[in-house]
């Protein structure tokens, strides 16, 4: 810092006005490193046109890809913030507020109803951008809400998971969302309403080890990482290199863990077809 930066720059800025920096127009594909025009990428459902890499997308983007403009977002029960008064380097309540501000959503799961190819459905979508899509009390309540709505209105249920697992900052209360969400989806198995579980990148931990693996039909989006333990933890435990493609959708279908692997652009059609078969 010297007097020029301290004095001249603010004056200059006040004079010419703050420079508008346009959002970066380009995105680099993390898989093939090709440069992609952002607008083009968006028009291509956030799939790399060179290598077919599926970018992670927000719950809101997912919602509009899936239900277009015609949907109703539901209110889900609110939680008194930070039941454990959890604090690491930062307070959990602050982290939560930050995430809410950044994503303009209440928590990691959005619940909505709408139509897909003229079929009415209930949908719950995890947002990985919201604290890693972690499942705490609010997310658990959202899944319960979605299941109740589907059951009361006789609608198929589709849950798009994208989550690192249970939210550590809510401790045992987040762990207890595993049985709570299992009870919720289980209540549909007493009806003839389909529950389609769509696993997107990444679905791991307490989410994959609860309702997400209990779908009547389990679809994995292409290229997603799906598993119980994180690959780093496994590598540290067994101290050897992991198999190629380990925990990827294409690996899981070979192991018999899921029904179908689907490209993002074909997802709507596939889900609609399955609903058609089951209802």
């Amino acid at each position: 810092m010297n007097w020029i930066t301290n004095f001249v720059r603010p004056k200059l800025q006040a004079f010419v006005g703050k420079k508008e920096v346009p959002d970066n127009l380009w995105e680099t594909c993390p898989k093939c490193s090709q440069m992609l025009l952002k607008r083009e990428l968006e028009n291509n459902s956030f799939v790399c046109k060179h290598c077919d890499h599926h970018f992670r997308i927000s719950a809101k983007q997912r919602l509009s890809f899936f239900l277009g403009n015609n949907f109703m977002v539901m209110d889900t029960p609110k939680v008194k913030a930070d039941p454990l008064k959890f604090k690491d380097n930062k307070k959990y309540s602050d982290r939560l507020k930050e995430a809410q501000k950044k994503n303009s959503t209440y928590d990691s799961v959005i619940v909505a109803s709408g139509t897909i190819e003229k079929k009415k459905v209930t949908v719950a979508i995890f947002d990985f951008n919201f604290m890693g899509g972690s499942m705490g009390m609010a997310a658990g309540e959202a899944i319960v809400t979605a299941c109740n709505y589907a059951r009361n209105n006789n609608l198929p249920l589709i849950i798009f998971s994208s989550s690192g697992g249970a939210r550590m900052q809510e401790g045992i209360l987040s762990l207890m969302q595993m049985p709570r969400t299992v009870i919720a989806v289980n209540s549909l198995s007493k009806t003839n309403l389909p529950f389609i579980s769509v696993l997107t990148d990444p679905t791991t931990g307490g989410v994959s080890a609860s309702f997400a693996m209990l779908g009547d039909i389990i679809i994995a989006e292409k290229d997603a990482t799906i598993g119980f333990a994180g690959s780093r933890v496994i590598e540290e435990t067994i101290k050897e290199k992991l198999p190629q493609n380990f925990q990827k959708s294409e690996y899981l279908i070979e192991k018999g863990m899921i029904d179908i692997v689907v490209h993002r652009k074909e997802l709507n059609k596939k889900i609609s077809d399955i609903i058609e078969f089951l209802t």
């Binding site: 029960p77 609110k78 939680v79 008194k80 039941p83 454990l84 959890f86 604090k87 690491d88 380097n89 009390m137 658990g140 309540e141 319960v144 249970a166 939210r167 550590m168 809510e170 401790g171 045992i172 209360l173 987040s174 762990l175 207890m176 595993m178 049985p179 709570r180 299992v182 009870i183 289980n186 931990g205 307490g206 994959s208 080890a209 609860s210 309702f211 997400a212 693996m213 209990l214 799906i226 598993g227 119980f228 333990a229 994180g230 933890v233 496994i234 435990t237 067994i238 992991l242 198999p243 380990f246 925990q247 192991k255 018999g256 863990m257």
Partner: protein, 318 residues
């Protein structure tokens, strides 16, 4: 010789002195007096230390290698038992055991983790970390209990489900999810006892009790303090802070209304008196079994579902 934990150093010092005195083989009154003084000091210190264990000290106590293990619990609580094995699909996972068991005329089906007692059994039992075949064996036993109307007792003591390639390949997630689902559908009552380490999803898979009871110094957590510290603090050195923040002690869980009851451990922890610990568990089991004797299967299932759906209610905004 007992295995002392790091914070039990004052006890180790007293014990060493006592052993030195005993070594003298001197029967004089002086020595006898000194020995009884030391014993008194030891007992006092022991109860002092155990009265105020920190969460991380409890983590160490609940992992103590001499803590009662599955075979101890079965042989000391029940009069008769018949071990059952295998998942009928792949293998028998000895980290998760099961048996038919009786107290007097009362019949039970018992399922529990077994961390192992010595190096060989610990390695064989994968340190208590079950693989999918373990959870699928549990599911098979849940079905037997449901069919023959046997109350289920689960003893939980696991660091968590095994994180490994073969476990993933055989569907660790599905195995845990289905265990939770199937245990919630069991037509007989389930009584879950966290006797040591209640580690994450691996514990939940066996912990869907109509009653969940914890031993005084056991823990139940979404993640190990070490795992939490390495993710949130980026260093395992912060495990102690993580243990405090996670609210993982039996006392915390009772406050949060996640568990129903705490069984007080003998002074100095369950590992210092396995027989007494088992007696206390037995008393509790006999008492809570009675509460469910006149309930129908439908009422039992509903009781369980309601219990879990209500967890966390006090933290919801109205």
């Amino acid at each position: 010789m007992q295995n002392f934990l790091d914070f039990e150093k004052p006890l180790l010092d007293i014990q060493s002195k006592m052993e030195e005195l005993r070594h003298l083989k001197d029967n004089s009154e002086n020595i006898a007096n000194e020995l009884s003084n030391l014993q008194e000091k030891f007992d006092k210190k022991l109860s002092e230390i155990y009265k105020e264990l920190t969460p991380f000290q409890k983590v160490k106590v609940c992992r103590h290698q001499d803590r009662p293990k599955f075979d101890d619990l079965v042989s000391k609580i029940f009069d008769k038992s018949e071990y059952l094995s295998g998942d009928r699909l792949f293998a028998d996972d000895t980290s998760l055991k099961g048996c038919l068991a009786k107290i007097g005329n009362k019949k039970f089906l018992v399922i529990g983790n077994d961390k192992g007692k010595d190096i060989d059994s610990r390695v064989k039992n994968n340190f208590g970390m079950a693989k999918p075949e373990g959870y699928r064996k549990a599911q098979r036993l849940f079905n037997i209990a449901s069919k023959f109307n046997l109350p289920i007792v689960t003893f939980i003591d696991t660091p968590g489900a095994f994180p490994g390639v073969e476990a993933e390949d055989r569907g660790q997630s599905e195995a845990i999810a289905t265990s939770i689902k199937k245990s919630l559908m069991v037509r007989s009552p389930i009584f879950s006892f966290v006797v040591g380490e209640g580690g994450s999803g691996g514990a939940v898979a066996m912990g869907m009790g109509n009653k969940v009871v914890m031993l005084e110094h056991s823990i139940y957590s979404v993640i190990s303090p070490e795992g939490c510290a390495s993710i949130l603090w980026r260093s395992i050195n912060h495990s102690e802070k993580a243990a405090e923040n996670l609210k993982l002690t039996a006392q915390d869980l009772l406050d949060l209304e996640v568990i129903d009851e705490i069984i007080k451990e003998p002074i100095g922890g369950a590992h210092r008196n396995v027989n007494e610990t088992c007696d206390l568990i037995k008393d509790c089991l006999e008492r809570i079994t009675e509460e469910f004797e006149n309930m129908t299967p439908e009422e039992i299932i509903l009781h369980r579902e309601k219990k879990y759906l209500e967890i966390g209610n006090k933290f919801m905004e109205n």
